[in-house]
C-alpha cells in the first residue's frame, strides 16, 4: 500500500501533471485530426522521452495512450468521421443524435461513460498488480517462450484480412531484430562489417520510419480536412448527458467488463471492441430497436467498453511484454527506451511502476473527460486545421529527435530506409504492426529458446508447458480467428 501511495505522490508532482496534460493534449488533438491517431502521437513522442525521468516519461506516454478513446468520439459524433479505429460504431447512434440536435448531450454522455470505463479498466489492472510477483514466479524460460510464441502467432490475428502477409512481415521483423552482435555467442549477424549495425537497429528510427513518417507523408499528399458543421443549440447538454450516463450504470459495467476482457486477451484488438459492445446493446437491451437510431445508450456502451479495454490490455503487456494492439506495441517500445522492461525485471526491480501507470490512467482519464466537457469549441476548431501546416513541423521534430538519440546521421539514414519500406507497405495496404511485433518479440523468443534448450536439452519437447502451451495456442488462435471473422 505504501508503494501505491508513493506512486500517487510521484504522479501528483507538478512536472508529472504537466506531462500528463501534454499527453492528454497530444492524444485528444491527434484523434480529432483527420488521418491522425494515437499510434502516430505515441510514435512522434518517443524520441523526446529519452531525456525525461521514467515517471515523467510515463506520465506523457501513458496519458496519451489512456485517453485515446475519449476524444475520438468528437469527430464520430459531430462529423461521422471515426477518430481512430475504436470509434467507428459510435457514429451509428452518436452522429444520429447530433443530427437530431442532441450533439452536446451525446458528447457529454460519451465523455462521462469514457471516464467510468477508463477507471474500470484501470481498476482491473490494479487488482492484478499485487499478484504479479507470484504470477511471474510460475513462468520460467519455457513458459515465457510459449507465451512469446503465442504473441508471435497473434501477428496473424492483428493483420486484418491479410493473415499470410502479416505472418511474412512478422518474420521480416524477426530477421531485422537479429541484426547485430549475437547475444550469447558474440558473433555479428547481418552487420556487413558495418560497426553501426553491430548494436542492431535502434527502436526509434524503426518506429519513426515505419509508422510516423509514412502517415505524415500520406497526410501531406491527401491534404484532407473534415468538413465543418454547425454547432448545436441545446440548453443543458452537459447535465443531460451526465444524467443519462448515470441512469445506465449497469450497462456501463457490463460493456466495461466486455472491453476489459477484449483488451486482456492479446490480439483481439482495439478495432472490434466498439462493434462487440454495439452488438451487446443491439441484442440484449430493452427497446433495442432504437439502438443505431440515435439512442444515447449506444454511445455510452461503446465508449465505456473502448476505454475499459486499455486497462485490460496493460495486464499481459506489463506481465509478459505481449502487445495486444498496435498502440500497446508502440507503448512497449517507449517503455524499453526509458529502461522499463515489462515482465520479471519490471515487477521485481521497479514494483512502483505498475502503480504509477495505474494512477496516471485514472487521473488522466478524469482530467480528460472533465476538460473535454468544457473544451468543445476548441476541438471544433482543431478539426479544421489543414495538415499541410502541421506535417512539415512534425517531420522536422521527428528528424531532429531521431538524430538526437545518438547525435548520429546513421539514425537518420536508418529512419529514411524504414520510411521507404513503411510507405511501400502502406501503399499496398499492409499493416506494419506485425513487423514491429516481430522486431520486438523475435530476439526475446530466440533468447528464451536458447535458455530453454540449455536448461532442458531434448527433453524440452516433452515439457508440459511446451505440449500444453502449443496445443492451447493453436486451438485458441484457430478457434478465435473463426469467431472473430464471423
Amino acid at each position: 500500500m505504501d508503494i501505491a501511495f508513493q506512486a500517487l505522490v510521484d504522479v501528483l508532482s507538478p512536472a508529472s501533471i504537466f506531462f500528463m496534460l501534454a499527453g492528454i493534449f497530444v492524444s485528444s488533438t491527434f484523434v480529432a485530426l483527420p488521418g491522425f491517431d494515437t499510434k502516430l502521437g505515441l510514435a512522434i513522442l518517443i524520441p523526446f522521452i529519452i531525456y525525461l525521468e521514467p515517471v515523467l516519461a510515463l506520465s506523457l506516454m501513458v496519458s496519451t495512450y489512456a485517453v485515446s478513446n475519449t476524444a475520438n468520439s468528437i469527430t464520430s459524433i459531430l462529423f461521422a468521421v471515426p477518430g481512430g479505429s475504436g470509434s467507428q460504431a459510435t457514429i451509428l447512434d452518436g452522429y444520429r443524435m447530433a443530427r437530431q440536435g442532441k450533439a452536446g448531450q451525446a458528447l457529454s454522455a460519451s465523455f462521462t461513460a469514457s471516464a467510468i470505463g477508463g477507471i474500470f479498466g484501470a481498476l482491473f489492472f490494479l487488482v492484478f498488480i499485487p499478484f504479479m510477483p507470484s504470477i511471474i514466479l510460475w513462468f520460467g524460460p519455457v513458459e515465457m517462450l510459449m507465451l512469446v510464441f503465442s504473441g508471435l502467432l497473434l501477428i496473424g490475428a492483428l493483420s486484418g484480412s491479410h493473415h499470410y502477409e502479416g505472418i511474412a512481415l512478422g518474420l521480416i521483423g524477426m530477421i531485422l531484430g537479429t541484426v547485430g552482435i549475437h547475444y550469447t555467442t558474440g558473433q555479428p549477424r547481418f552487420t556487413m562489417d558495418n560497426i553501426y549495425l553491430m548494436d542492431g537497429f535502434h527502436l526509434i528510427p524503426v518506429v519513426m520510419g515505419l509508422f510516423a513518417m509514412p502517415e505524415l507523408i500520406s497526410l501531406y499528399i491527401t491534404n484532407s480536412t473534415i468538413s465543418k458543421t454547425g454547432t448545436n443549440n441545446e440548453k443543458t447538454p452537459v447535465r443531460d448527458g451526465v444524467r443519462k450516463t448515470f441512469q445506465n450504470l449497469k450497462l456501463i459495467f457490463q460493456t466495461s467488463i466486455i472491453g476489459t476482457w477484449i483488451g486482456f486477451v492479446p490480439g483481439l484488438g482495439a478495432a472490434i471492441t466498439d462493434w462487440v459492445a454495439y452488438a451487446f446493446c443491439k441484442s440484449t437491451l430493452p427497446n433495442r430497436e432504437n439502438i443505431g437510431k440515435g439512442d444515447v445508450r449506444g454511445v455510452i456502451a461503446i465508449d465505456a467498453a473502448t476505454n475499459a479495454k486499455e486497462g485490460g490490455a496493460l495486464v499481459p503487456a506489463m506481465l509478459f511484454g505481449l502487445p495486444g494492439s498496435s498502440s500497446v506495441a508502440i507503448l512497449l517500445s517507449a517503455f524499453s527506451i526509458i529502461g522499463i522492461q515489462p515482465g520479471i525485471a519490471l515487477i521485481i526491480d521497479t514494483p512502483k511502476i505498475p502503480y504509477v501507470i495505474f494512477w496516471i490512467m485514472v487521473i488522466s482519464t478524469i482530467i480528460t473527460s472533465v476538460a473535454l466537457l468544457f473544451m468543445l469549441p476548441l476541438f471544433n476548431k482543431i478539426t479544421v486545421i489543414r495538415p499541410e501546416y502541421l506535417v512539415p513541423f512534425l517531420m522536422l521534430m521527428i528528424t531532429v529527435g531521431t538524430y538526437a538519440v545518438a547525435n548520429s546521421f546513421y539514425y537518420i539514414w536508418a529512419m529514411m530506409a524504414f520510411t521507404v519500406f513503411g510507405m511501400w507497405l502502406k501503399l499496398h495496404n499492409l499493416t506494419r504492426v506485425p513487423l514491429l511485433i516481430g522486431f520486438l518479440l523475435g530476439p526475446i523468443a530466440e533468447r528464451l529458446l536458447e535458455t530453454s534448450v540449455q536448461l532442458h536439452g531434448w527433453s524440452l519437447l516433452y515439457h508440459p508447458a511446451v505440449i500444453g502451451g502449443l496445443c492451447t495456442v493453436f486451438a485458441v488462435v484457430l478457434l478465435f480467428k473463426r469467431v472473430v471473422h464471423k
Binding site: 511471474i136 524460460p141 553491430m198 520479471i344 521485481i348
Partner: protein, 325 residues
C-alpha cells in the same frame, strides 16, 4: 643580484603564464564528455552524466560541460572516435568501454585505436561481483563452488561483466555450466529462486539490493573492492601463482569499471588539469551525495594503475590470452 632577480622574475612569470594559460583556455570554453552508450539511463550513461554535472567546477576556468552519447559497436565507435577524430585540445574526453583493452589485444574486427596512446584520466567506479545461491543450496562459500561436481550459473552472454567473473571461477578450476540468455540481474536471480540454476552473480550493489529484499537468497562470495560483509568468502583468497595471470587478465574490467580518457596529443598541462579535476570531483561532497542517491558506488582508480593493468593485458602472451578466451 640583478641577474638573479631577473631570472626569478622570468621563472615566476613563466609559471604564472602557464597556469593562466590552462585557466584562460578553459574559461568560457565547452568541454564535452563522450559516453559510449545510448542516453538510456544505464550504468555508463548515469556515471558519465553524473561526472559531467560536477567536473566543470573543478577544471581551472570552470568551463561549461556537456554530454554527447556516442553508442555503437559495443563502444567501438566512441573508442575509434577518441583515437582519430576527437579534438586534441583537451575539450573532449571519453567514457570508454571497460573491455576496450581486451578487444584491442584480441585484435577484434573494427578496432582502430590504441589505448596506450590515449591520455588516461582515471576510473570513477571499481567493479565488483557478488555470488549468490538459493538458501537451500549446499554451496555456502567459494570453496564449495570449487568442490561441487557441477554448478549451473545463469548469465547473459560472453562479454558481459558477470559472465567474465563467473568464467573466472571456471578458469580457476570450478566446473561451471553456463545457462545463457538471462538479460537482466532480475531474470538471473529469478532463475536461482526457481532453482532452474544453482548460482548467479552480478555487481555487488545490484545483487545485494535483491539479497536484502529476499530471504530465499544466500550470499556466498565477493570479488573486488568491497568493505562490507567481511565474513563472506572472497575470490581473491583462491588466487595462486599458477592462476595469477588469468586472474589479472580477467579482472581488468572489475578494477577499472568506469574508465575515462583524453585523446592522444593533448597538451600535457591540460591533461594534468583534467586528471586533477577528475580526482577532485570524486571527493566533492555534493557529487558523492548525488551518487549515493543514484545508488552508484564511487571508487577512484588512478591513471597510473589503469596504465599498468592495460600493460598487463597488452603484453600477455598468446598462450595466456588463449587461457582466458
Amino acid at each position: 643580484m640583478k641577474f638573479i632577480s631577473i631570472l626569478l622574475a622570468l621563472v615566476l612569470g613563466f609559471s604564472t603564464a602557464q597556469a593562466s594559460t590552462v585557466e584562460d583556455f578553459y574559461k568560457g570554453n565547452t568541454v564535452t564528455v563522450i559516453i559510449r552508450t545510448n542516453a538510456d539511463g544505464g550504468s555508463n550513461d548515469t556515471y558519465g552524466r553524473l561526472l559531467a554535472r560536477y567536473i566543470g567546477k573543478h577544471i581551472p576556468g570552470n568551463p561549461n560541460v556537456i554530454v554527447q552519447n556516442m553508442p555503437g559497436g559495443g563502444g567501438l565507435i566512441a573508442a575509434n572516435y577518441t583515437q582519430h577524430r576527437a579534438k586534441k585540445d583537451g575539450t573532449e574526453f571519453t567514457l570508454f568501454a571497460q573491455g576496450a583493452v581486451i578487444e584491442q589485444r584480441k585484435k577484434t574486427n573494427g578496432v582502430d585505436y590504441d589505448v596506450q596512446s590515449w591520455n588516461l584520466i582515471g576510473s570513477m567506479a571499481g567493479g565488483s561481483s557478488a555470488y549468490v545461491v538459493h538458501k537451500d543450496s549446499p554451496i555456502n562459500n567459494i570453496a564449495d563452488i570449487f568442490s561441487a561436481q557441477e554448478v549451473k550459473v545463469s548469465a547473459s552472454g560472453p562479454g558481459s561483466g558477470s559472465y567474465t567473473t563467473s568464467a573466472l571461477l571456471s578458469k580457476m578450476g570450478a566446473n561451471i555450466k553456463f545457462i545463457l540468455g538471462y538479460d537482466k540481474t532480475s531474470t538471473k536471480v529469478l532463475a536461482v529462486l526457481r532453482k532452474d540454476v544453482d548460482m548467479t552473480n552480478g555487481t555487488y550493489s545490484s545483487i545485494m539490493k535483491r539479497v536484502q529484499k529476499n530471504p530465499d537468497m544466500k550470499l556466498i562470495g565477493i570479488l573486488g573492492n568491497i568493505d562490507e560483509n567481511p565474513q563472506v568468502d572472497r575470490l581473491e583468497n583462491y588466487v595462486t601463482p599458477e592462476n595469477q595471470t588469468v586472474f589479472d587478465l580477467m579482472t581488468v574490467s572489475v578494477t577499472a569499471g568506469s574508465p575515462f580518457a583524453l585523446p592522444p596529443g593533448v597538451p600535457s598541462e591540460r591533461v594534468q588539469a583534467i586528471r586533477d579535476a577528475f580526482k577532485a570531483t570524486l571527493k566533492d561532497a555534493d557529487f558523492l551525495a548525488e551518487a549515493k542517491k543514484l545508488k552508484r558506488p564511487i571508487a577512484y582508480t588512478s591513471p597510473e594503475k589503469m596504465e599498468k593493468l592495460y600493460q598487463t593485458v597488452l603484453s600477455a602472451s598468446d598462450e595466456d590470452m588463449a587461457k582466458v578466451e
